[in-house]
Symmetry: C2
Subunit: 394 residues, 2 copies
């Protein structure tokens, strides 16, 4: 992944847990960097999320700090004090306002982020040698099994801009680890308002379309930073030439990152794409697709390589959305096993069975009611999930 | 469990699956028996459910037929033909209308109920010797690990009435087995309208308060039959003397039956009671309690005997209901581990750990916002669930 002009990465050891790996990441951003963000909708969000929701409104960022190993969620005023200490320390170093220093934390819930460790870690990061994307992607992770990053680019007129993202997962990947954090960096020049609009739109088609276990974190955050170093004519509205290209590239990058989270879902052995069509609206299709994706019985059926379309019917039926049993059709790997409310007699089971033995599973649901459609991505539910989340104490 | 005057039970072997056990149950009901029912809210309900919803409107029943091993769901017009054949066959035998013959089926989805097996099974059941509750409870089961029944009684003035119920589970207990069916019998004299009102009310506090895996069946059905043989002054309205006593007994019976389903939840090792208080309304409390009860991370934490209240916070936060992180308190086994948004420092872990080692787990959530409260019951999520639902093919 290429460097992004205007972004300098550093990592340090804050030792938030008893481990020997970098767990504090610092991204220094060029003056004038635009920022946009989307955050968890949890009613019990962390101090970091509450602060970030406020900070993105002014649209500019100079720094990002990510703490791994402690989510600082549900820690009340003491958690907020730790965040305020970090923003003050970094703002002082850079000579900027504290509202331009973004902070995320991920890990155990309910333990206030230790201020002494944070202070020493930030101090070390501020003077550390720059590092590359892989080091940063690794440092923001908790029990992720691999470092996750993606890149893409777009032509804005004659100017090529780069987009790079790093992300950690995976839904709720391990005991007390409960956060999807994603960071996108680009050298494009783009006003914060438009960046927010495009990120919100991309999020709807990407991060909002993945689920590992249906459990929404208290700390989920995706931030996009645009340094402007590429020197393109700044994008300020959807009508500016290049906005479409940038929007497409941003959505592509978000989709890559979102899918990486699912691929690293806890205990996952299969990557499942669920396409719903023929719903009364796109929103209805999305809710039906999520009902299928979150059904433990559908997910265990896929783990068992069983084309159990009856469980898909069940999940469609319980979604609380319009559906007509006698118009419903279901396919696995492109082969219809049920059509218009009836099993397809004598359908060829061999290619369906072969499809289910693979690691990329495709489920299609056609409702026959309207034009609404949606796609979501999930993973199977296996003994691995239980082992990660139940077999040992946190 | 005592016999209920006016109810005669019979079982027969229809061999809906390749097994050697009774799988067709026939309950003959005295003329004039009142009936009430509550059914799945699935948009993909079975023919049996669709028919039952219509039949209860006229309020009288002479017979109940339950088929085990084939749910007859998602089988289109062929499924409906099988049901019509059964109602005609039984109505002909009893000399009653087909609308007084209730039918339920449970088992594999998507295979039309074989009409020849149904015809022979019903014919055998109609002439079989009467049997007891345990035989009937066993015959309606699929992969339930034990026969489930409960009883209670009520004094209506000077008349003692008996209530007996049988039920099968357990959420989605095994591959393709996907139904909770419950049947309640009483010798009380009670008009169908009032019986429906009381059953609906009891359902809201009992069957609607249990969850095993959040997967709602296409065939869930609870029917209540009142033969009137006890000879009490018939109950017709909530104001009649005895209505309160009957309502309390009915709710008590439903709660016993509902809890039996959870105790036999697939792979369950712990029975979990979740009490939510301080919500803005009872409905809000109910939705928050279900969000906690359906969270895979909460359920695996309990399986791991881990007082992981951070996961409870997460589940409260994602419920989509009003919650204030800084007013939220959580207790395990009656001991507060977090109060008003902060972990309770130095709380005594020993009794909490001991509580979690037991098989009856109690989680309390106090929101500090209002007077709304609710209780739901669930079980833990274990390797047993995965083994039942993924490790072998259906």
């Amino acid at each position: 992944m290429p460097p992004i002009p205007g972004v300098t990465l550093h990592v340090a050891l804050a030792r938030y847990k008893n481990w020997d790996r970098a767990d504090l990441t610092y991204a220094e951003l060029a003056e004038g960097t635009s920022v946009a963000g989307v955050f968890t909708q949890s009613a019990c969000a962390s101090s970091e999320v509450e602060l970030g929701r406020e900070q993105v409104k002014q649209g500019r960022a100079r720094a990002l700090i990510v703490n791994a190993g402690n989510s600082n969620a549900f820690t009340g005023y003491r958690g907020r004090e730790a965040v305020d200490q970090i923003t003050a320390q970094v703002a002082d170093h850079l000579g900027c306002g504290t509202d331009q220093v973004f902070v995320s934390s991920t890990g155990v819930i309910g333990v206030p982020l230790p201020k002494d460790k944070a202070r020493a870690g930030v101090a070390a990061a501020l003077v550390a040698d720059p590092c590359g994307w892989e080091d940063a992607a690794r440092a923001i992770g908790t029990t992720d099994t691999f470092a996750k990053g993606a890149r893409t680019s777009a032509m804005l007129g004659d100017t090529r801009v780069e987009l790079v993202g790093i992300i950690k997962g995976s839904g709720m990947i391990a005991p007390d680890m409960a956060t999807m954090l994603g960071y996108i960096f680009t050298d494009a020049a783009i006003e914060p308002g438009l960046l927010q609009e495009l990120l919100t739109q991309a999020n709807r088609q990407t991060f909002s379309c993945i689920t590992v276990d249906g459990d929404t974190s208290t700390s989920d955050t995706v931030l996009a930073f645009a340094t402007g170093a590429a020197g393109n004519a700044p994008l300020a509205s959807l009508d500016d030439p290049g906005s479409d290209a940038f929007a497409a590239a941003l959505t592509d990058l978000c989709r890559q990152l979102a899918q990486l989270v699912v691929r690293d879902g806890e205990g996952a052995t299969k990557f499942i794409t669920i396409r719903v069509s023929g719903a009364v609206s796109d929103e209805s299709a999305h809710r039906i697709a999520l009902s299928v994706a979150n059904s433990p019985l559908v997910k265990t059926a896929i783990a068992g390589e069983d084309a159990n379309w009856g469980r898909v019917v069940m999940a469609v039926g319980k979604a609380g959305e319009p559906a007509d049993r006698d118009k419903l059709s279901i396919a696995f790997g492109g082969i219809w096993t049920a059509k218009n409310g009836l099993p397809v007699e004598g359908y060829d089971e061999a290619p369906v069975a072969a499809h289910l033995k693979g690691s990329e599973i495709d489920i299609a649901v056609e409702l026959g009611l309207g034009e609404g459609h949606a796609t979501v991505w999930t993973c199977d539910l296996t003994h691995g999930y239980i082992s990660i989340n139940a077999d040992y104490r946190s």
